[in-house]
């Protein structure tokens, strides 16, 4: 009996004897997790969130969410005698008077940046490997909702200390609200309880920041993690890995040990960052002052894209029938992020519609094997990245010695041209890599040894790829193109008729573009178009997976 099983049995019996519910627990502990570094990205988000809850709770003990004006006479002498809100002065007190307060503030803030950063890279991993495909579309949607709510959570937290930068951020938020056609002014008055900034906003944001959104996030994250368990983790292609099994290590003790270690790693990185790198030094910004604005007033990075969109937008303001339509704020506030979030949410369904692929997928795609998706993903990253960089254009201009206007114009052009080029280049690169893979499969690995044949010709000796590599290489099944409605067909399928049908067909041709599918070591058989059988990608039910959850540990 292996050590694993002993450990499992020991723990299982111990718990079963006491809780009488071990069969479920046992299944939980035996849950198989595939091993890949990119599967830990989501965990960064999970653990930083837990750290945010802990440090945030500490901060609530000392933070005063109040706009009441006070005169500061604290430890930080450069602001001695400055009038400020209680929110700001209590944050100064957290930073300078409360034992460990500054460290807590800094951990809280760094954790917020890592939380959202981790969500972003996690989502990219899920997208580029196609992990969102059936049956995991809901979990993808939950992820998108978590992402968008987390951004608001960060924005509201950033606004709480009522310093110059957070006030500037709130002013922009208010401007965006006001730019909503017709209802804008009402929305703004509703949120701020009257004129900007007013007295209500900080207490309101406080309740939203420490209570409402954390509760919603907690619920969504729980659902997200539960679904991940329930649907089982996807895995990369490899030897012995099929759409119907999960190959990896059992939850207990292997995965738990690893993930536990990872938690401490994350905590350590956060503690180090917060000890050595200063973040949000609100005492330098000074209290919010509506008549002041500072160079370098940026939001946190996750709001950078909104800031960039605002900076990039030409100044369009229309006056129609006594109403001001501030398109210079409304469009940039909604359009770019709308494209990213809306497009992201709809993508799994668009892809299904275009490919006609309704099968379940538990084996991940290597990004090169889905060139169109990968191309679109990279294009989206470029699109977002350009807008995001434009949000820091003054700092970039300052440090690279180029003019501010130039950065804006570069951004305006690249935001349109960049994604197109990125899509095209990425797709070519993917196809090139596919070709390389096919070559490897068919001809094996070049050994660099040249032999002379009896007839005088030279050949290079090759050796076949390893079994595991072969399994990876032949994983690309390719997608079958949708059949074009034949001219003599009496009634084409409903989904293929009309404008939408034609568009679907055209898109389908783009999506299924790929080079001939590889056929394995030495199998010379050529496929006409390289696309596998439709049957190969559909209908592998859940039942198979449930039973075959195997740790291959015996």
């Amino acid at each position: 009996m292996s050590t694993t099983e002993k450990a499992l049995e020991g723990t299982g019996r111990f718990l079963d004897d006491r809780l009488h519910g071990a069969s479920g627990l046992n299944r939980f502990l035996r849950k198989i997790f595939p091993d890949h570094w990119s599967f830990l990205l989501g965990e960064i988000a999970l653990y930083t969130f837990i750290i945010l809850l802990l440090t945030g709770t500490f901060l609530t003990l000392f933070f005063q969410p109040s706009m009441t004006e006070v005169t500061y006479h604290g430890v930080y002498t450069p602001l001695d005698g400055v009038r400020m809100s209680e929110a700001y002065s209590s944050t100064l007190n957290i930073s300078f008077d409360v034992r460990g307060g500054l460290l807590m503030r800094q951990i809280h803030h760094w954790a917020a940046l890592l939380f959202i950063g981790a969500i972003m890279v996690h989502m990219l991993r899920v997208f580029f490997t196609g992990a969102y495909r059936k049956p995991r579309e809901f979990n993808w949607l939950i992820g998108i909702i978590i992402f968008s709510i987390a951004i608001f959570e960060g924005l509201f937290g950033y606004s709480l200390p009522d310093d110059l930068l957070s006030g500037t951020g709130l002013k922009i938020t208010q401007g965006v609200l006001e730019s909503f056609p017709i209802v804008g002014t009402y929305l703004s008055f509703f949120l701020f309880g009257g004129q900007f900034p007013g007295h209500d906003i900080i207490p309101r944001l406080y309740v939203i920041h420490v209570l409402i959104i954390p509760a919603v996030l907690l619920a969504l994250i729980a659902a997200h993690v539960f679904l991940t368990f329930h649907l089982k983790h996807t895995q990369f292609p490899g030897k012995g890995r099929t759409n119907a099994n999960v190959v990896g290590a059992p939850m207990y003790p292997y995965f738990m040990a690893k993930t536990g270690a990872f938690f401490f790693f994350i905590f350590a990185v956060l503690a180090l960052l917060s000890t050595f790198a200063q973040i949000n030094p609100i005492w330098l910004f000074g209290p919010y002052n509506p008549s002041a604005i500072t160079a370098g007033s940026q939001p946190d990075f996750y709001m950078g894209a909104l800031e960039g969109a605002l900076r990039m937008m030409p100044n369009w303001v229309w006056n129609v029938a006594g109403h001001t339509f501030a398109f210079n704020e409304f469009i940039p506030a909604l359009l770019p992020l709308g494209i990213i979030f809306g497009g992201g949410a709809m993508w799994p369904f668009i892809e299904q519609w275009v490919t006609g692929d309704r099968g379940e997928h538990h084996i991940l795609d290597r990004p090169r094997n889905a060139p169109t998706r990968t191309g679109i993903g990279v294009a989206a990253v470029v699109f977002y990245g350009v807008i995001w960089l434009e949000g820091a254009n003054d700092v970039i201009a300052n440090h690279l010695d180029i003019s501010l206007f130039l950065t804006t114009w570069i951004a305006r052009i690249t935001v349109i041209v960049g994604p197109i080029i990125a899509y095209w280049v990425t797709k070519r690169v993917c196809l090139g890599l596919q070709r390389k893979d096919a070559h490897l499969l068919e001809h094996g690995i070049e050994t660099g040894i040249i032999r002379q044949l009896p007839n005088g010709a030279y050949v290079e000796a090759t050796r076949p790829v390893s079994e595991n590599d072969e399994a990876v290489l032949i994983s690309r099944t390719g997608l079958p193109p949708l059949p074009a409605p034949a001219a003599d067909e009496e009634v084409p399928a409903k989904s293929m008729r009309g404008g939408m049908g034609r568009m679907r067909l055209a898109l389908n041709r783009v999506v299924t573009e790929g080079i001939a599918a590889p056929t394995g070591n030495g199998h010379g058989e050529e496929h006409a178009n390289g696309h596998g059988e439709p049957a190969a990608i559909s209908g592998q039910g859940d039942q198979g997976r449930d039973g075959q959850d195997s740790g291959s540990s015996s």
């Binding site: 990205l41 960064i44 001695d80 400055v82 930073s95 002052n289 206007f405």
Partner: protein
């Protein structure tokens, strides 16, 4: 509470040193330059000899661009009549003048003149048409200044170009507001008084001399103070923080994840 007390001790110590230095420099300056504060136009405290010396220096190093009598050469250098001693002192003591390339916003270079020579130049230019004088040591001394007011004045008047901590920033049409880390109190005063290049003039009616002192006190105080939270990351705001979050946070954690998953269980 240890770190705070030591910080405070530190801060007070730094304050005292700066103060002592400034008072010393001020005293030395007053001794050299004579009666402070009087407009240089009446030229009484500066000797004829100083002016003559300045004129000679000017003819040698400045006239090629500003003309023999500082009347200006169109397209090369502006007229200096009426710019005042303060402008000359600011431009030359920060290394901006004598300019090498004609064009806006001369990048500061090593200062080429001694203090005495600069004062001679300043006295000469002031003798041509008055203008703001070089401030005295008392005028720029942060001793007893109102820091709180200085903070507010700085944030409302200067931060939009020089950033909240004086780290500098980009302006429109390719111009830059420099960081304020090196300017001496006198230079800060003169910058406000003369408004070099794209910087507006903050005349004594906009920011009174006493308020100028408050601004100087705030700028010099804040730039010298340690960063209680660790490395300052340039004090330029959230941009570098975001960079560090990705390079020092996310990237490090991804490497950690790779490391943790590197050792596979043998099956």
């Amino acid at each position: 509470m240890r770190p705070i007390t030591s910080l405070r001790r530190h801060r007070v110590a730094g304050y005292a040193v700066v103060l002592l230095g400034l008072v010393g420099a001020g005293a030395a300056y007053t001794a050299v330059a004579g009666q402070p504060g009087t407009a240089a136009a009446d030229a009484s405290p500066v000797s004829r000899q100083q002016i003559a010396e300045g004129q000679a220096l000017f003819a040698r190093t400045c006239a090629s661009c500003h003309g023999m009598h500082a009347q200006g050469i169109s397209g090369v250098g502006p007229s200096l009549i009426g710019v005042g001693a303060a402008a000359v002192d600011f431009q030359v003591s920060t290394g901006r003048m004598p300019g090498k390339v004609t064009g806006a916003e001369m990048p500061p270079r090593p200062v080429v003149f001694s203090q005495t020579q600069i004062h001679a130049l300043a006295a000469y230019v002031a003798s041509l048409g008055g203008g703001p004088a070089i401030p005295s040591g008392d005028q720029v001394s942060p001793a007893g200044a109102n820091l709180a007011l200085g903070q507010q004045l700085f944030i409302t008047n200067c931060a939009q170009c020089h950033n909240f901590s004086g780290a500098g920033g980009a302006l429109t049409s390719g111009k830059f507001a420099p960081p304020l880390n090196h300017a001496t109190p006198t230079q800060i005063y003169e910058a406000m008084q003369t408004g070099p290049e794209a910087m507006p003039v903050f005349s004594d009616t906009t920011i009174t001399p006493a308020q100028k002192r408050d601004v100087i006190a705030y700028v010099t105080k804040v730039r010298g103070q340690p960063d209680p939270g660790g490395f300052s990351l340039g004090r330029v705001g959230p941009v570098t923080e975001g960079l560090v979050a990705f390079l020092g946070g996310i990237a490090v954690l991804i490497f950690a994840a790779m490391w943790i998953t590197m050792k596979r269980r043998e099956s």
